[in-house]
Symmetry: D2
Subunit: 276 residues, 4 copies
Amino acid sequence: MIRVSIDNELSYNVQQPSDFVFNIQAAKNQYQLIIEETLAFDPPLPFEEFTDPLLENRFVRIRANPGPLKVSYRATVGLNYMVGDPAVIQESPIAMLPMETIPFIFPSRYCQSDLLMRMAQLEFGGLAPGYSRVEAVCRWIREHIQYQIGSSNPNTSAADVIVHRAGVCRDFAHLAIAFCRALNIPARFIASYANFPDPPPDFHAMFEAFLGGRWYLFDPTELAPRNQVTRIGTGRDATDVAFATIFGTAQMTHMSPNVKILEDNVGDVAVAIVTS
Amino acid sequence: MIRVSIDNELSYNVQQPSDFVFNIQAAKNQYQLIIEETLAFDPPLPFEEFTDPLLENRFVRIRANPGPLKVSYRATVGLNYMVGDPAVIQESPIAMLPMETIPFIFPSRYCQSDLLMRMAQLEFGGLAPGYSRVEAVCRWIREHIQYQIGSSNPNTSAADVIVHRAGVCRDFAHLAIAFCRALNIPARFIASYANFPDPPPDFHAMFEAFLGGRWYLFDPTELAPRNQVTRIGTGRDATDVAFATIFGTAQMTHMSPNVKILEDNVGDVAVAIVTS
Amino acid sequence: MIRVSIDNELSYNVQQPSDFVFNIQAAKNQYQLIIEETLAFDPPLPFEEFTDPLLENRFVRIRANPGPLKVSYRATVGLNYMVGDPAVIQESPIAMLPMETIPFIFPSRYCQSDLLMRMAQLEFGGLAPGYSRVEAVCRWIREHIQYQIGSSNPNTSAADVIVHRAGVCRDFAHLAIAFCRALNIPARFIASYANFPDPPPDFHAMFEAFLGGRWYLFDPTELAPRNQVTRIGTGRDATDVAFATIFGTAQMTHMSPNVKILEDNVGDVAVAIVTS
Amino acid sequence: MIRVSIDNELSYNVQQPSDFVFNIQAAKNQYQLIIEETLAFDPPLPFEEFTDPLLENRFVRIRANPGPLKVSYRATVGLNYMVGDPAVIQESPIAMLPMETIPFIFPSRYCQSDLLMRMAQLEFGGLAPGYSRVEAVCRWIREHIQYQIGSSNPNTSAADVIVHRAGVCRDFAHLAIAFCRALNIPARFIASYANFPDPPPDFHAMFEAFLGGRWYLFDPTELAPRNQVTRIGTGRDATDVAFATIFGTAQMTHMSPNVKILEDNVGDVAVAIVTS
């Protein structure tokens, strides 16, 4: 069991009455136990909660008046991922894919697998199928794309990254997802709280690939131990799991999604991490 | 009540064992009654059916061996759309949107509302909100984009269409959806069987916008009477409702999605058509 | 006659030995008399001068060592544009175009007239040919594209601007050029020193269209009186007339291309300005 | 000496009075001797000739009336390329580049070296500079891009090819040029008549890189012996050297740019070919 403490504060300067949809709460699922959590708005505001029935993303909607707005989320989460042996994890034949995984083979806004079909075949089509092929995708990205903060923007897509050869965790995940889908491996985007040794605290993007009947977690950036990561949301790509979607006029003035590992009797492990 | 007869035949030449996911059956919902239907494969094949719990899309999956493959779908459908008065249909404030409509405000593969945000504001931001604003979007598209068969391809997106200024029904729908989303109006893609007076029989793409608490049907091409249209599928864009997704190697050799109006005691109507 | 004083200072912080190609000197041509000018480098450096035989652009090449580098260009220039009557200026039939203007009908890096062919025809194809059609192009751009500092970057092209609907003088010129070329009107990019009443001092981008056997100057931004503008360079697009091209590692730390009108007995004029 | 016979016939169906600019005549330069040539139009038409003073491209302009149009170009050309030793050919330092080669470092319509800067550095930045680095660029392209007729269109650019991973000779040349320019090696596009053993007769695209004070010929497709190639035109990219630019309405109905080697006492050679 790994116990994680999350302390996330977001501050905004609201100019006009604005609607916010937040997706900052840790997801509740069998591998991730919410031990305690609080969500608070300053000034205090009524809020509406909604959990996506399929993807388990937890959304909160508020309406804020002009002035400063502070959102605080604090939680203690117990992580208990199941693990598997990479060597024996196969790709699922199309005929065996659960129908609800099929949409995750389709291209999405930032993961244009349709455009990258030939490249995926040329680079990875000859590799043995299975967990190791997804690992090869991750390795290719680490070796061919520069991780560079500020090199991309919210409009940047996988096809852009292939040209510009630089990006951040979000771009790495988008590109990996696009390659997997082009190889007929369902893949989806994960927004998370991660414990970075180094960079400033930030949300972290990773991805899952569907192999051998389960979703497995991958991180092409290798910036954080995968089994210490707390999932916030799951989607086709970043568009589905923005931590805040603002309808109105407001600027973010501060963000500090801090993560502390309270207890870890597992260690970083070179195993496949089952996430659902 | 409008009664429609559908007779759709798709032929393929399969080179290697291939998996197909078809989405060609009429959707079942309160406005669309399946009076009778048959789905047949030649050679006969076992198939697996799946209905998307949220969007009601009906998928069929088969595995075909090399050789010719013929898929026949025949149905009689009763259409009974509810109508509304365009003059009184308002846009829904964000705070009033059901949470399950929120994903339809987000950009998708072919509807990059994020890129078209400023254009949507400049062209339509000053118009009175409501049903008439979505009509203005449709009118703009008819006036600024050439409908031209062969002018686009499966990779063509709304942003491409804004540059190239030509497209088919699918492109018209994608662009309309992108504009609506950029205006914070949830919008989604509809694949359908339509009764064209003129062009060769084909699937038809339209879109729905969420206004005043309901989804309303729009067709920027104005090629077919909207109340004679039989819905096949609903999605974020064309990617979700391809009539056939092929995993393997197969060429389509023939397609004839014929539609006949058996009975129509309604006529084409200049009203808002509620579709869910 | 209009007399203009230019005082342009560029400062760099050079990290490694770097080559610079500058294009900051006023062009010499029959409408533009260099009354006096000085070009100085601090620290002093030997430099090599080159004037493009066709386009009359004046390039200076230096090699700078690590450390600060300051470039100062001061000039007094007499401008004496010939003017024409917009009402009588015709477009040139292709058969009458001097062969050396033909390359300026072709697409270039930032002016993809090939992609905008249909849009140009739809928007401007029905207008009467002549000077007024180029004015219509300029007007369309002012009305449909937001002038917004910071909204574009050096990679931004005319096709991007059509999607994003915002840009600066450089983007306005690129788009106008692309439209003109798509209408078979040769058009080229002008880098200049302009006298802005308002915005901070900066280089200014404009464009020329070839009409009735001559090049005429246009400014879709309408930010500066066209007859007070001092031409620096002429090219297919911004790529040909960058004020500085750096081969190596250096950051610009300061830029102040100041312009003063010393004498103007002409005034801003609503006439066609012949520029070559 | 290599003697080549060229027999090129182009047929058009002209719908409306149209202007054509052809660039189909062999260039005249010190390595390429026009022994004899004829250019004929059927129906006979007056034509205007123009040779670009810098690039030596030979343009012919005609005005054709509605009806069929046939253009025939026949020539015997003597090729006598100078050769060099790849092992000793260096890249030219920026400070040593003749100023007239500088524009060939800039990005152009189909060679967006600005977008591919980081990729060029990552893939080729660590290689020893010189002739062999340009060879490495060619090899990379052969190994990573599929040569596939029909996979690209006239709008396809180097950045598109990096995503789609397929193209024809024109695309291979564009990508090679973009990479070279991103490495500060001037590079330009060559349109030519080539002697293909295999594919149907066609124009051939290659490129030149400026190394050690001279232009050297490269062919990333390796489809034709480089020393048997007859140059037609030289430009920034395909846009400058289209074999026909049509202003009006006309369809090409036939094209057969045949090439025969009359005499070759040289053989295909693994040497650097100096072309100017």
